[in-house]
Symmetry: C2
Subunit: 600 residues, 2 copies
């Protein structure tokens, strides 16, 4: 007993603030360098979430400035709805406090830990309180708080609180100081750029120690805020079911219909039938054993998947492609959004994009961009289910070399949107290896892989055709020269033949006896819409067909014809003139046209 | 304001139990299969820690049995000091409650989360309370509790509490039921085997659904329980310093000497001089700015590293080698324990071992065993600083192929012992990438790599010599045969020549005219201690030297000589006799000896 009592004297509660102070690396504060990024990320996440909830176009200022020694002041200010004054101390000064934890919908913040962890880190490293200013509307005063966290109790400590004037009509500003470095400045800017890509409705202005970068908004539409849904009958566990039924005041039938998503009268009846329960029983009166039977029945009945469209906010295929193309010049880009799926009762949607070519480096591994609920993931790539899934795909099937990750000039972007993203730690760096999620990622990448393969095959075929044509064309002029020598006639122009072999659009102009003839031949396999420009002293008043437009530039005439030529079709214009000046053809890329002016 | 108020209605506290119920994968309960391993691991960790604290040789029973459907009952029982009855509900029914969180010393449990997480998981999946029996001594009754956790408040709920008779005089038994599978049975046994290796003083008996495996103790010594130390002046941060000084009643000098490890009068004076503080100032009266200056002075002064030997309990080189050899047959094994080092003020020691050859598979990656504070790490190998460090070493320098991890018939074991192991998540699967830790791991592996390289070079040289000798020896008998043919004499025995070339121990017995001569020649490069057995009808009463031992077995005499021969030395015995019977030589492995009995 003596030993047990000795040991008992050491046993006591640990406050969650103490726990995370000691294990701050779990929250992304493992190094001073990283602290800056984590703080900005948590504050920007909150700002974007709040703006979305208030349907405001976000306007976010981010700044990190050295204030002396190795101490930096981090500031994040938004134009969100603001926070009511009574709640400010808790939002910033208490870990595990927030509005989004209990809601079943996609949001960036989920845990109610992030921003107060930054406050905790600041007071741990510099002892400085966090400064918060927030205003909830034009008719309200702004409130200014200096806040700390009482580590032993995880309760906020208000150092000062005043009402002040503020030029924003609504919004929140956080200033925090801690020891740090700007060694990860590039990573910080990467984070902001990626954030801007998947939140095109946000304007983010960053001042990193005097260096200002603005990420302008690309869209003026606020994406709809995902709406909370009820738990799904397939995803609930015994403990949660018991809490829900204890809190219910109705019958089992009312309980099932009212407390779960996708359960109507018919499904409820089916469940009760399977469980052998009378619909008139009061839900809160069910015994533990009856609840177990009810739970099994709920999971034994077919129920549609949760309404993913309502509670999730995927980025969308179009935006994924545009986001990537904005970031990097690419020859090929495709995106896919999968249908909604479920892991442990939580709705999720996987979307992904693949880019290829352009100015991506040909050597080394493909670039991988990971996102979860519209937030870029920057750290712990190796520990992430996204990386794991990318490596599970056999990329050699799709034309990419592979050593673990695929290689070559490729780029892969994966977004996991879920009502509950299972991160591997509170710092939200990596998605945990959940089989359902990995399966969906593999599927979407295989779909995209097939498209990439088709593109690469087309490109390869095209290249082979071109090589062959180029080989043939290179001997045609020599043959022509030999022939003209033998038959003692002037050398003929072989360009049109080359154009035909090379499958290009050929323009040919020739003037004989004061008559100018311009021929267009479309030897490609596609219809082309062409614009022909002829700038010369010829007025071409008798041209047939008539130019669509003639501009007299002081004795010179710029004549413009537009025509549309199907594959294999030809077009001709003839007019009286000297045939001097210049000629140009638009509507087809340079590599696909041959222009032959026999008058020059 | 309206929007902010709408949002405010959703804002509330989240209990730590709610948080971990939703994020149970953070605690290692991401799948039912894994739940069993995590539960047993947490319970065994606690049992080993408690036994160590009470200086008891641990005797631990582990059982996992199916009790119907997919529900398993997990039982872990130990002979530790027991838990005083008042504390039982908190130890098992409240997350973040424990005795080891606030102590600066190596222990398996650190967080006060693990075992209550198992209780939480059980009630979530099956609604069943956990059953705990504990007894603190022979004169006390055992106490039996049925416990649950109130998720909303993270407080224990005692379902029942009785005093009972129990056959153990002290110890604790936990029974828990949840949905699971035994799909990971092999991994579970691996975990227990590895645990037994690094805890050779523990007896662990496992009954996995009727399959009983016993891991007997290999040592009867309880390793000394690491003792708590004071914080180190280099590792403290502002927040913690402020709390300590607030709680101090003495002068700054007394505070420095009494509250920190490795700070004596001289160091304290140096710190105060640097900070410009009078030693007579009261510590609790220091302003925040003075504390900041004091902190800088503390970190600017040279202080020896924390007393690692006192607060840490490394496994030791000998035990590491023996542990590995017990596990796997190896041709080569070496271990190294590094001196103590510091990360963020926390003491740590890295030790590692390398094994090679034996029955390790020649193909594929080397096997990697990871340990932290004497606990094997089973999951998330890819996310672990240990793995990362192993991959940083250039193994090709040391004779192993490498593709990320080293390959070949090799085995690497790394143990991180620390007063605070920085895990990547609460499930304690992987060590976070802390540069100081990775550096030490790389250093110890490089040391071991050099030894491996020396061994492999020796082996290669030896193999070349042997090949050459074998080639020479294979023609000697032929030469001898030719010579005997030419000179028309009987064929001479060439074995001794071969023995000399092959560098072996050669025994040669020959009997001429009733005199038996036995010659021993040590042609190896090492001293050998040999035992010669001759079993025959010869009594050898006149043998010179005398046998060390003669046994008369009904007319047959077993004569035994012992001798020690340096490299190159020879030994001879001569006696009267017929020279029949058998002869044998011990003390040198079969491959290293040649026995030639010319009388046979």
């Amino acid at each position: 007993m003596a030993i047990a009592e000795d040991l008992a004297r050491e046993q006591r509660s640990i406050s969650v603030a103490e726990f995370f102070e000691k294990n701050k690396h779990l929250l992304g504060f493992d190094s001073p360098t990283r602290g800056i990024i984590t703080t900005i990320k948590e504050a920007v996440d909150n700002a974007l979430d709040a703006c979305e909830e208030a349907e405001v176009l976000p306007d976010i200022l981010v700044s990190a400035r050295r204030v002396g020694g190795d101490v930096y002041r981090i500031t994040v200010e938004d134009n969100g709805p603001g926070i009511v004054p009574e709640n400010i101390p808790f939002v910033f000064g208490k870990l595990l406090y927030g509005s989004r934890f209990h809601q079943i919908r996609q949001s960036r913040g989920q845990q109610g830990i992030g921003i107060s962890a930054a406050v905790l880190y600041a007071q741990l490293t510099t002892g400085t309180p966090a400064l918060v200013i927030s205003r909830t509307g034009a008719r309200e005063k702004a409130h200014r708080y200096e806040l700390m966290i009482r580590t032993e109790t995880n309760e906020p400590e208000v150092v000062s609180h005043t009402e002040i004037e503020w030029d924003r009509t609504h919004g929140t500003r956080l200033e925090i100081e801690f020891k740090s470095t700007l060694a990860a400045k590039k990573r910080l800017l990467d984070y902001l750029r990626l954030t801007a890509i998947v939140n095109p409705h946000a304007r983010i202005t960053a001042d990193i120690d005097g260096d200002v970068t603005a990420f302008e908004r690309a869209s003026d539409e606020v994406p709809p805020c995902p709406r909370s849904i009820l738990p799904h009958p397939h995803g609930i566990e015994f403990g949660a079911l018991k809490r829900l039924s204890d809190a219910s005041s109705g019958t089992v039938e009312e309980f099932l219909i009212g407390s779960f998503s996708r359960v109507g009268k018919k499904t409820a009846e089916e469940i009760m039938g399977l469980a052998g329960l009378k619909p008139s029983r009061k839900a809160k009166r069910l015994s533990a054993d009856e609840l177990k039977i009810l739970l099994e029945a709920m999971q034994g009945v077919r129920v549609p998947a949760p309404p993913a469209q309502q509670c999730l906010s995927p980025i969308g295929e179009d935006l994924l492609c545009r986001g990537l193309e904005k970031e990097i010049q690419l020859d090929f880009v495709r995106a896919r959004t999968r249908p909604g799926a479920v892991h442990g009762g939580h709705s999720f949607i996987i979307e992904a994009a693949i880019g290829y070519g352009g100015n991506l480096p040909a050597e080394g591994s493909a670039r991988l961009f990971r996102f979860a609920n519209r937030v870029p993931l920057l750290y712990q790539q190796g520990a992430c289910a996204i990386t794991n899934s990318v490596m599970q795909v056999n990329w050699k099937n799709y034309g990419l070399p592979q050593q673990g990750l695929p290689g070559g000039p490729a780029l892969i972007m994966v977004h996991v949107a879920s009502t509950n993203v299972p991160f591997t730690s509170e710092s939200k760096d990596a998605v945990a290896s959940i089989p359902e999620i990995e399966r969906e990622i593999v599927l979407v990448l295989q779909e995209l892989g097939r498209e990439l393969k088709a593109y690469l095959s087309r490109r390869e075929r095209k290249k082979q055709q071109d090589d062959r044509a180029r080989a043939v064309c290179s001997i045609i002029p020599e043959i022509a020269a030999k022939v003209s020598e033998i038959v003692e006639l002037p050398l003929v122009d072989t360009s049109p033949i080359e154009g035909r072999i090379m499958q290009k659009v050929v323009l040919k102009k020739r003037t004989v006896d004061g008559r100018v003839t311009i021929d267009l031949n479309n030897y490609t396999t596609k219809e082309v819409a062409l614009t022909l420009y002829s700038l010369s002293g010829d007025e071409a008043g008798d041209a047939e067909p008539r130019p669509d437009f003639v501009d007299d530039i002081g004795g010179e005439y710029n004549k413009v014809w537009r025509c549309r030529l199907g594959a294999g079709e030809a077009w001709r214009v003839v007019y009286t003139g000297a045939g001097d000046g210049t000629i140009d053809l638009r509507g087809v890329e340079d590599a696909m046209r041959v222009v032959v002016d026999l008058d020059v």
